[in-house]
């Protein structure tokens, strides 16, 4: 008999159980062992219940229900598997025009948010100190009365303009209801939380004279030049972009699309790219203009488009004979590969090669919006990148960029404002958007708190927050906390106990997205107009109400013209009416897609004063933007200095955004947190990425604790050595550092937003910097 390991173990067990041997070949021992196993298991009632302690979920018929995910602006179609009344799994909806069956980790974990302990069970009133997390359940009537009373009093005192609403979007019926409420009530302060859309909408408005968001035809592009966009890390509509990425990675190697990533850190996108060009943080605009230099110098641009459909490319003179510098001369003189190489740190030769490859590609596209696109960004940088799309003539072309409209819905009757509403709405906005200083900007989501702290503490007397978590997502957390402290009345409509709800005075919980009706406008970055419909997949699990209904009830209780601005019986009536003829399709199919949509031809595409694509922005003067110097009318490079004194803070801290870590208005569910790498989170400590060279300079090794300090705050972190990050740069994952939610998320890591402040863009006032100066010391 061959004595292998298994036999040896069997024999050893046999010897001990057989007390001295002899019985090892009889079945008695084995039977006894088996009995022992079963007996010991039966001692455990958990054997049957798996720790559920009598909470065995109910069985039932298996069905599937389609809806849309709204955990991020990606708007994917989902199919929910149900067993009886229970939702048991979320899967990507096959054939849905955004994500065709694919799903992201956050979307797949959506049921943890539906059934999790972070749900707000009923209206809550704060009883302890702000931020103590002590709330008391109250009835809906009492909750709504409190809001009506407070807002009524403010209105009576002529203070209606001190009411503000912060939302995650300004499109769709629910955000528009809030906007309408403010119009009827008398306040200009509708604020949308920050995203790269803020800046791109402005850039498109200025250069193309269009309204609407940017749409990228990524699926048909064959050269993708990304200026730090986390293409496969949550940028745009995440699943859609990952699917486009797979299209680029399919077929014969020689036919595949080329992806080039510009970024100081080897992100997943950079790693997957064909070429990764790390450049000094914040010098992206210079590189874009350096590429433009080569493309123009070597006549690689689209002559037809540039010649017939653009303005300000060549030098030009106005009616008085004054000559102005065109984009061509600026770029030719200022942004030679050598000059740009000095700024960006990228060798001049690489700039040449990249420019040629980009311009010669069949369908090149330059994409903008760093990381997941959660920060507004610099206007001139966006314009410089967009200028590359103009040079190659891929505006409104297959594989290119366009300003994309929304699916048309029925308009609502005009709000009939009373005198209070008129005077309140005409007051300047608290954030300064639309003022003489920032006439173009619609919302300044990172600025209102700075304004309040800068001597206008009483500017907001009541704040309503829906579909957003500004307490957490706004840059400079300490400033936001201070501003919140100064607001006497904060109302949250959140489904979950997020940071804002945690610091609110009153919570009026909305239904979870799987419990309600709501229209979801075109996902961010899509080139086709799509309208998706959230449908109730399960009945409300708690004593929650649709935010649309709650807001209308509040308005109706206020009486007068505020009430009459809301003639609908309830939200569902309003939704059906607004969707008009599309309602039937939306109710049945769950979405509408305008398949035949094509962006306008060049001759009709541009609504600028010149009727052409403008390199030289004539709209600046019309809007009254004060541009000090001539170059300010053209896309150019203006260094955005990250906050902090280089002598005190020698390093640059940049946020890194991870697909497995939600960093927006939705907290990371436990499943997603479980997928984090061991080099990202250890117990409650967050790792920052440091290049081994930099770490050596500061005497740090893998796993060391260190103090990370910026002008905005400091935090104890762990060091992870990563060869892929530029020396002198530190990467901090965004999405942790919550105090709210629950034990599965609260207290883990630090929030990047607590370390990064606001650097205002000189033209838009939006946050322009991507990061902050920092120092790292061993502790």
């Amino acid at each position: 008999m061959k004595l292998d390991r298994r036999t040896f173990i069997e024999l050893a067990v046999g010897f001990s159980a057989g007390a001295g041997g002899g019985f090892m070949l009889t079945p008695v021992n084995w039977k006894l062992m088996d009995d022992m196993t079963i007996w010991s298991q039966e001692l455990w009632p958990r054997y049957q219940l798996g720790g559920l302690k009598g909470r065995l979920p109910q069985q039932g018929k298996v069905t599937h229900a389609d809806s849309v995910c709204n955990l991020c602006p990606g708007g994917c179609g989902i199919t929910v598997r149900k067993v009886g009344d229970r939702a048991t799994k979320i899967e990507g909806r096959e054939g849905y025009p955004v994500n065709d069956g694919g799903i992201c980790p956050l979307g797949a974990a959506g049921l943890q948010l539906l059934y999790g302990p972070w749900r707000i069970p009923s209206p809550l009133k704060r009883i302890g100190k702000r931020g103590s997390g002590n709330f008391e359940k109250i009835s809906w009537d009492e909750a709504i009365n409190k809001v009506v009373q407070k807002l009524g009093n403010l209105r009576q005192k002529g203070q209606s303009h001190t009411v503000a609403c912060i939302l995650g979007s300004d499109e769709g019926t629910v955000p528009r209801l809030f906007d309408r409420f403010l119009a009827a009530y008398g306040s200009p302060n509708f604020i949308r939380t920050a995203s790269a859309e803020d800046t791109y909408e402005l850039a498109l408005g200025l250069m193309q004279g269009t309204t609407g968001s940017v749409g990228y035809d990524l699926e048909r592009a064959n050269f993708i030049l990304s200026f730090g966009s986390g293409l496969i890390e949550g940028w745009g509509s995440p699943v859609r972009v990952i699917q486009a990425h797979s299209t680029w990675r399919s077929g014969d190697l020689k036919d595949r699309a080329t992806v080039v990533q510009i970024e100081p850190r080897l992100s997943n996108t950079a790693a997957k790219a064909d070429n990764w060009y790390p450049i000094n943080p914040g010098t992206e605009a210079a590189l874009a203009l350096g590429l433009a230099h080569v493309i123009i110098k070597e006549s690689l641009y689209n002559v037809d488009f540039i010649g017939k459909h653009t303005f300000g490319f060549e030098d030009w003179s106005d009616s008085s004979g004054k000559t102005y510098m065109g984009f061509k001369r600026l770029v030719r003189t200022e942004y030679t590969p050598e000059a740009v190489s000095k700024i960006t740190g990228l060798p001049a030769k690489k700039i040449l090669t990249l420019a040629r490859a980009f311009a010669k590609a069949k369908r090149p596209v330059a994409v903008w919006g760093r990381g997941k696109g959660t920060v507004s960004g610099s206007l001139y940088e966006c314009m410089a990148v967009h200028a590359l799309n103009a040079l190659t003539g891929n505006i409104n072309k297959p594989g290119g960029v366009s300003a994309r409209p929304q699916v048309a819905t029925r308009s609502w009757p005009e709000v009939e404002r009373d005198a209070t509403a008129w005077s309140g709405s005409r007051r300047p906005r608290i954030d300064g958007a639309g003022s003489n200083r920032y006439p173009l900007t619609r919302y300044l989501p990172d600025r209102w708190s700075q304004v309040m702290n800068g001597g206008k503490a009483g500017a907001i007397q009541a704040l309503l927050v829906h579909g957003a978590d500004p307490y957490y997502t706004t840059l400079d957390s300490a400033a936001v906390a201070k501003a919140f402290e100064a607001i006497p009345f904060v109302v949250s409509f959140s489904t979950c106990l997020d940071e804002t709800a945690y610091h609110a005075d009153l919570i009026l919980p909305n239904h979870h997205y799987l419990e309600r009706w709501e229209d979801i406008p075109t996902p961010v970055g899509l080139q086709k107009p799509i309208l998706g419909m959230l449908k109730p997949v399960v009945s409300p699990q708690f004593d929650t109400r649709h935010a649309g209904d709650v807001l209308m009830t509040i308005a109706k209780s206020m009486g007068g013209s505020v009430a009459s601005a809301f003639p609908w019986d309830d939200y569902e009536t309003l939704l059906k009416e607004t969707m008009g003829d599309n309602w039937g399709t939306l109710e049945k199919a769950g979405y509408i897609v305008n398949e035949g949509y094509k962006p306008s031809a060049w001759s009709k595409a541009f609504g600028t004063p010149s009727g052409k694509f403008e390199f030289y922005i004539t709209a600046f003067d019309q809007a009254g933007v004060k541009i000090g110097k001539d170059v300010g009318y053209l896309p150019h490079y203006e260094p955005v200095q990250p906050e902090g004194n280089p002598a005190t803070y020698p390093l640059i801290l940049i946020p890194t955004e991870l697909m497995r870590l939600a960093d927006g208005a939705v907290g990371n569910p436990p499943f997603c947190t479980k997928t984090l790498e061991e080099t990202e989170l250890k117990k409650n400590d967050l790792f920052v990425e440091v290049n081994p060279k930099t770490a050596a300079d500061y005497g740090l090794s893998e796993g060391h604790h260190a103090m990370l300090e910026t002008a905005k705050g400091k935090a104890k972190v762990l060091v992870h050595l990563f060869e892929g990050i530029m020396p002198g740069v530190i990467g901090i994952p965004k999405g942790l550092g919550h105090a709210a939610y629950d034990d599965y998320l609260a207290g883990k890591g630090v929030s990047a937003n607590s370390l990064i402040g606001v650097v205002e863009d000189p033209v838009t006032g939006l946050s322009a910097a991507w990061g902050v100066r920092a120092k790292l010391t061993r502790v």
Binding site: K89, I103, I232, T679, N691, L721, E723
Partner: protein, 274 residues
């Protein structure tokens, strides 16, 4: 009587219909997003804890490894390797490593499907299989699973939850095979179509990087994909004959599959904080 006999024959014949289920994972497409991991957890009732940061105690069936070429900035490169159970077939004198050491016959290799099973009620937690598995796919339940109140509602009734003290691992969503087989039989079919049995991770992958099917069926996509000149398997030298194939056009990525990257790497490669 005759008809009954006929049916029995057919039934017998059906048992001879065998599959060799496996996967081809395109690492060029895999973005490391983790949707496969979450879909697996949701499908298979995996529990979670307040702190899951210790991988040695964390029960992932599908784990996406992040590997680096170890070269200094800016020549660094990283790649992801989604790693479910490799469902080793073994070959020659090599056995499926876990099956050959299990004293309780709690894990077995199915010649019907090519799936390595895990029978939780038989397992008594000796963890030999964990020691034997060269791919670290097996995890031990150090605690009874618990769910915050209310969360038990999303549990999948097709998959049992596992108690403290037993080992668990990826089953290729075997319950989905059973479901598909039931359906096929009910419809008078004895063979499963490619698309009617797919694992949860395959279905979820937004990149379409995972392809699942019968490796020996020329009609199935995996049959062709595994023949790619860029295809490899993990630790082929061990003779475990795993059924997960990977495709990577990066030379260093393929070499990493054998834990041999040519010269000694100078920089930081994979780091764990156990």
């Amino acid at each position: 009587m005759k008809e009954v006999h006929h049916k029995a024959d057919e039934h017998h014949g059906a048992h001879e219909k065998t599959y060799k289920y496996g996967m081809v994972v395109d690492l060029d497409k895999c973005t490391g997003c983790g949707a496969c991991m979450v879909a697996c957890m949701a499908e298979n009732n995996l529990s979670f804890r307040k702190d899951n940061s210790d991988r040695l105690r964390s029960n992932l069936w599908m784990r996406v490894y992040k590997i680096s070429n170890g070269r200094p900035f800016p020549d660094t490169d990283i790649s992801f390797i989604p790693r479910p159970c490799q469902h080793c077939e073994g070959e020659g004198h090599h056995h499926t490593p876990c099956v050959s050491v299990c004293p309780a016959t709690a894990t077995d290799y199915s010649h019907e499907t090519g799936i390595v099973s895990q029978v939780y009620t038989r397992c008594f937690g000796c963890r030999y299989c964990m020691a034997a598995c060269p791919y670290h796919v097996r995890v031990f339940n150090w605690w009874d699973p618990t769910w915050p109140k209310g969360m038990e509602k999303y549990l999948n009734p097709d998959v049992s939850v596992r108690m403290r003290g037993v080992v668990e691992k990826c089953s290729f969503c075997y319950h989905r095979y059973q479901r598909a087989k039931n359906k096929a039989y009910a419809e008078g079919r004895r063979e499963l179509h490619e698309d009617e049995y797919q694992t949860a991770c395959t279905q979820a992958c937004p990149a379409g990087a995972i392809t699942f099917g019968d490796l020996k069926n020329p009609e199935h996509k995996v049959h062709k994909l595994k023949k790619s000149r860029y295809a490899f398997r993990l630790l082929e030298k061990l003779g475990t004959n795993p059924k997960i194939y990977y495709v990577s056009t990066r030379d260093w990525g393929r070499k990493a599959g054998e834990v041999y990257a040519g010269e000694e790497p100078k920089g930081v490669t994979h780091v764990t904080h156990a």
